[in-house]
Symmetry: C2
Amino acid sequence: MLLCDIGNSFAKFYDGKELKRIPITQIEQYRRQKVCFINVNPKVEKLLEEFENWINLEQYITLDTSYRGLGVDRKALCWGVEEGVIVDAGSAITVDVMEKGRHKGGFIIPGIRFLQRDFAEISSRLAINTLQQVDLTHLPQNTLTAISYGIIKPIILAIKQFDMRIYITGGDGELLHHYIPEALYDPLLLFKHLEKLVQRKGLC
Amino acid sequence: MLLCDIGNSFAKFYDGKELKRIPITQIEQYRRQKVCFINVNPKVEKLLEEFENWINLEQYITLDTSYRGLGVDRKALCWGVEEGVIVDAGSAITVDVMEKGRHKGGFIIPGIRFLQRDFAEISSRLAINTLQQVDLTHLPQNTLTAISYGIIKPIILAIKQFDMRIYITGGDGELLHHYIPEALYDPLLLFKHLEKLVQRKGLC
């Protein structure tokens, strides 16, 4: 079974073993294959309709929520989680809360790379190339640490404000996991949920 | 007595009653006046040395701290505060902690305008013109609120993590004060500290 998660610039394919990330412009090469996908990119919607063997999973993902406009990727991440905070740390960091199988709401924080770039633009004195690993239990004693702390600590506090199990995925997931070691970190979380969905619905 | 706070783009003058903000390029017009100033802008250092009646207050601001590279504006804001969290919400948000008259450290968060702009660049779906007033005690139920919450809540949590009196100043100070009504908000906090310093040292 080939699963696919289509974002704004890249499509990720997962065959149950390996993850492949390719530019959107190259998905044509998978046109003849059987693919179960989700898509948040309006630009490729029409093209995907032409791919006869592709199954859009969106219609099968039902989530009990009052949230309007929840992206299908966030829906899929929350799907099947009974209780917990689900964090997807990409170019934006989405945080969603599930309680007794119901989606209680969520919020969005700018991704770490954007925050880093902000500092560089505010002042050249605040430009940093790499985030320092900081001890979040102690107040910073210099600019470099003050910036890294100022990027990481507010995000961590926002995620940990709920006294619940935390699930982390996404490109910066490993970094966040370092600061929340008790969280469950799985870069394949989305695909594992899609896999379960596909099996449950008997789609592949 | 005329006080002046020189930043990267603007200089603020305060005469004890009114605050005037002018572009750095226009400070020449105050050349002959008696001015007590602080400056964080390296580009105008030489020029200021020519201004014979100008007194640089930096030498008089002593702060007990281990922090290396603390800007004179942050020093001046902390100066004279015995206990508390001092927040300056400008293009960057600086947060400094004073305990028993000693500076314990601090950190820096990108300013609200930068966070807002980040969203616009991450995705056009996340572009917002104005920050919504959000109820931070409830989880957002749509994208617009999710973004406003995602900008404000992490900042508020990072400021409130210390169980101490909070002092807020700076361009976005009023906005933050709305969410931390128990804080002391004073747009003139820096100048009030400079005033006290000048009086105590008998400089004007």
